[in-house]
Subunit: 194 residues, 2 copies
DNA sequence: GTCTATAGGCAGATAGAC
DNA sequence: GTCTATCTGCCTATAGAC
């Protein structure tokens, strides 16, 4: 009961998700197997099947937990940062943290592979991006209303642009092993709202 | 000898690259097999091994040909479009054409998977992005010099931002099956240089 | 250049004991 | 919950005939 999302006392299912998540974010969903996850946990493939009947279910659980964690982070930003510009900066920092762990955004990675994924996973990926866009749209509209964020056109479209820019910056920074590449893109993105 | 890049009289190796390219751009490098390519060609897996000893060599050939074709397109833009802004628009159109074929940029896709790829492929991906950045940097510097493109900071950094934005816009537009999502991002990108 | 046949390995998955 | 054992299928790759 008192288990946290990635705590050291987490159950096997949660620890399996931790291992699978790291693999999916670095190698892609088609780049890891039950054997990889089981080895990372120190159990057998058969035991892993007890917790997740198939790879599709594991993948769905992966996206669900990731989306919930992201939603929690956004709620925390709402609580702690009243200013629209601070919220946007904190949002970018979320991505920077993921990249700092040498990982791609889980849903950005899965977006690349979406044609090979079970429909349930593809749907969940869309919902992740929709939720991000909705939150960002609110932030941008708020910033425009109080004059702290300046941009042209539809706020929802601007929100899409923010997400795309950050995902693209992560995608390319990774093979270069260059964090500063991401930060330069992030700075330019923020400057665009001045 | 008189074979074109994707002509109907192309040899088996070229046609194999055509099929493999489409698969890699839609499913990723870990999302297709020799069996898929061979089936698409109407030959056996063993025959495909005659042309490409292993999947690594096939992958290298894929990136090489893609990079050369891209370089050719950039050279054509240089020839046909003297104005910096027109060049930038034509560059964006290159990406739009790829996405219009329901494909991801080959090197954007491979960038996501790079941790699972042979080192030779990872190196070739970096060279692709370097070449694009170099070309774009020249375009941006030219536009800034003659006053037709306006942007802040280092031109090379701005070029990186352009590539990242376009790759990210493609990545996310695909699962939505929404071309307009890409075009909206492209328009915002261009407007940013006004 | 293409084929049949085959090798060896790993994939996802299940049955059934403990 | 975790194990051993096993299944089926697909993977990359090779040998050798045509």
């Amino acid at each position: 009961m008192a288990e946290t999302q990635q705590g050291r006392d987490a159950g096997t299912a949660q620890r399996a998700l931790d291992v699978a998540e790291a693999l999916a974010q670095t190698r892609g969903f088609n780049g890891f197997s039950y054997a990889h996850v089981a080895a990372g946990l120190g159990i057998t493939k058969a035991s892993l099947h007890y917790h997740f009947p198939g790879k599709a279910e594991l993948g769905e659980a992966l996206i669900t937990r990731y989306s919930e964690r992201f939603a929690g982070a956004l709620a925390r930003i709402d609580d702690e940062r009243p200013a629209a510009r601070d919220r946007l900066e904190a949002y970018i920092e979320l991505y920077a943290d993921v990249l700092n762990g040498r990982r791609m955004c889980l849903c950005g990675m899965l977006a690349a592979e979406y044609e090979t994924l079970p429909a349930s996973m593809a749907d969940a990926i869309i919902r992740f991006f929709d939720a991000n866009q909705a939150w960002l749209t609110g932030v941008l509209e708020g910033g425009r209303a109080d004059g702290t964020l300046s941009f042209t056109g539809d706020a929802g479209e601007a929100a899409q642009a923010v997400i795309g820019t950050l995902e693209g910056a992560m995608l390319i920074a990774r093979p270069y092993h260059d964090l500063s590449r991401f930060h330069a893109a992030a700075r330019r993105l923020l400057d665009g709202f001045t």
